[in-house]
């Protein structure tokens, strides 16, 4: 086990900057998730840590050791690849043992560790099979096992669940989390799936265009997003964002929603002339049903998703912004209908219209 530190790490491929001045400290035993859309530099960051790419500038430490010029095999890491990268001609047992044999561990020790890991993952019966005779989920376990069996200082995982179907993904998600808790090995996990990030990470590092936008535990990132990018990326359905003007009259601030609509704010907060208003679905409610709402806002229903427990209603309002209203599961609506809704006080986010940074909640 070890800490991991990125210190002003930059990676350029020709003219494109994949990772820009990344600084991130990962604690010993922590489960850190790097999340972001494709092209955000998260996988590159992981590959830099693995030593599969060379740094353009900056420095990476594993434990107390600067590893910038250390070969991957000497970094004492193990990696799970998106496509599993199992050695096709070797049996599962040989796949697990390969790294240990290269390190010239005693035969008995290799056998013990392979059996133990197989037991931990429930793949004892698959040990003599070749990867091509395994299902996707089984291959995924073997790939995981190949990392576990090495007992490295750091686990690196590059979207290991993206090739599984939804149900298996949910299962494996919690299992990886459980294993990591048990073993306590520092883990860096890359995903584009914010649900994985939220459910698995001790902390989440959200990246965009090679830049680290925010680091924090899932609750913080969800409830206090640092900017509009994090706000809209984390959470599903995404937070609705509307660019609106501000008007100050009689000591009160009004947010001009377009048309004749406006939101009157009680606290005359110190906000600029133009802001971006954000609201998550669970804080966007039907006007009739709840008190303590800012509004009303009138809109037109665009789509309805009945999920059983709740109904999500996409509403176009405030110019061309789509808000998602979360209503009770029994609520029914038709596309094209007029709908009146409000935003829950205390949970309406304001962002600076120019730099898109968070200003606070109202």
């Amino acid at each position: 086990m070890a800490t991991v530190a990125f210190e002003h790490v930059t990676k350029r491929f020709g003219d494109t900057t994949a990772v820009a001045d990344l600084s991130l400290d990962i604690e010993d035993g922590e489960f850190m998730v790097l999340v972001g859309p494709s092209g955000s530099g998260k996988t590159t960051a992981l590959r830099l840590l693995a030593g599969l790419e060379a740094l353009t500038s900056g420095s990476i430490r594993i434990g107390d050791r600067v590893v910038d010029a250390v070969a991957p095999r000497e970094r004492d890491i193990a990696m799970v690849f998106q496509d599993y990268a199992l050695y096709p001609q070797m049996s599962v047992r040989q796949n697990l043992a390969f790294g240990l044999r290269i390190r010239k561990l005693p035969r008995a020790e290799i056998r013990r560790r392979v059996d133990e890991t197989a037991g931990l993952l429930g793949i004892e019966t698959l040990l003599e099979r070749k990867p091509r005779a395994l299902s996707g989920g089984q291959r995924q376990r073997v790939a995981l096992g190949r990392a576990l069996v090495r007992e490295p200082q750091v686990f690196l995982m590059d979207e290991p669940l993206s090739n599984l179907d939804a149900k298996l993904r949910a299962q494996t998600r919690s299992e990886i989390r459980r294993l990591q808790h048990e073993i306590g090995t520092t883990t860096v996990y890359v995903t584009h799936d914010q649900v994985e990030a939220m459910t698995m990470g001790d902390r989440i590092a959200t990246m965009r265009d090679g830049v680290l936008e925010q680091v924090g535990d899932p609750d913080t990132v969800y409830e206090k997003p640092a900017n509009t990018f994090v706000a809209s990326f984390i959470g599903s359905p995404a937070m609705s964002l509307a660019r609106v003007g501000c008007d100050r009259r009689n000591g009160k601030v009004q947010l001009l929603l377009g048309g004749q609509q406006q939101l009157v704010l009680d606290g005359a907060a110190d906000i600029p002339a133009e802001v971006i208003v954000g609201a998550r679905p669970e804080h966007t409610r039907l006007w009739e049903s709840e008190a303590n709402l800012l509004g009303p806002i009138d809109g037109t229903v665009e789509y309805v998703e009945s999920l059983g427990r709740e109904t999500l209603i996409g509403v176009e309002a405030a110019g061309s912004t789509r808000f998602v209203v979360e209503a009770d599961g029994r609520v029914r609506a038709e596309a094209g209908e007029a709908l009146r809704f409000g935003l829950r006080r205390g949970w309406v986010y304001l962002f600076d219209a120019e730099n898109e940074q968070a200003l606070g909640r109202i």
Binding site: A50, L52, P72, M79, Y87, Q89, F98, I102
Partner: protein, 272 residues
């Protein structure tokens, strides 16, 4: 119905082409099995004369020719396979300065015809006292085969999933270990295909053997067949039997490895 008609047409075309390909082969086979002095060409022999083969074998000294051919072909295949795997790995996987230029130099070996090289090559080898040795047959053919082999193996290594290499690197394998323990077993179809092709070309090589070798006991099978032809122009059945003897090792190798061969060809076609 269109599908069925199309299928019938496909079969018809394929059958025509296979007949075109098989006609001379069957012609040789039937001639080889005919009674000595019988008419040549495709016909059903009145009785099968397997003795033609044993006559050709002893009269034509084919045991000596086949031995020479085997020594040369096996050496060329073994040496060029190892070298091609190594150079293909370097060009396909490693990044080093001048890789592109060097690769084109290798490709030059594919483009320059043997006929253009053979005369200077003869004088070079004669100066080294290597003419009339197996080396004069083995070394030039290794060089020619490595040009193709490098091209072939590079295409294979480029098409292997990068993550496989990276997994091996992280697992602690050196380049050498990664190559021999992960990639070579993985690339067996491609490697076997290359070996079959090189074996075929080496086995059938005529010009080089003609120029480099004058001693009877070093003559390879195709060369021996040519001399045999010179002596027995009138006896076509004996000639046909000799031709069958010379061709059969390639056919046997192909039959044994054809499953891999087709797979290797397809891998190359789709990914290479």
């Amino acid at each position: 119905m269109i599908a069925r008609r199309e299928q019938a047409l496909n079969y018809a075309i394929l059958i025509v082409f296979s007949l075109v390909a098989l006609y001379p082969v069957l012609g040789i086979l039937s001639t080889a099995l005919s009674a000595p002095g019988d008419t040549a060409g495709l016909h059903f022999p009145s009785s099968l004369h397997f003795s033609n083969f044993s006559n050709a074998w002893t009269e034509g000294h084919f045991s000596s020719y086949l031995r020479s051919s085997a020594i040369v072909a096996v050496s060329v295949v073994a040496i060029s396979t190892v070298l091609s795997i190594l150079s293909g790995y370097a060009f396909g996987v490693m990044r080093f300065r001048g890789a592109t230029v060097l690769f084109y130099v290798f490709l030059l070996g594919l483009m320059v015809p043997e006929e253009a090289l053979i005369v200077p090559l003869y004088f070079d080898l004669r100066d080294l006292n290597l003419t009339d040795t197996y080396w004069s047959l083995i070394m030039p053919q290794v060089a020619l085969s490595v040009a193709f082999g490098t091209f072939w193996m590079r295409a294979f290594f480029v098409s292997t999933p990068r993550s496989l290499l990276e997994a091996a690197r992280i697992d602690g394998a050196s380049s050498w270990t990664t190559l021999w323990r992960v990639l070579v077993p993985f690339g067996r179809p491609a490697i076997l295909t290359m070996m079959v092709l090189v074996f075929m070309w080496t086995w059938n090589e005529f010009l080089l053997a003609l120029v480099m070798v004058s001693k009877e006991n070093l003559r390879t099978a195709p060369l021996g067949l040519a001399f045999f032809q010179g002596q027995h122009t009138s006896d076509l059945t004996l000639l046909a039997a000799g031709a069958v003897i010379v061709a059969s090792p390639v056919v046997i190798v192909y039959i044994f490895l054809q499953r891999h061969f087709i797979r290797g060809m397809l891998t190359g076609a789709v990914k290479g």
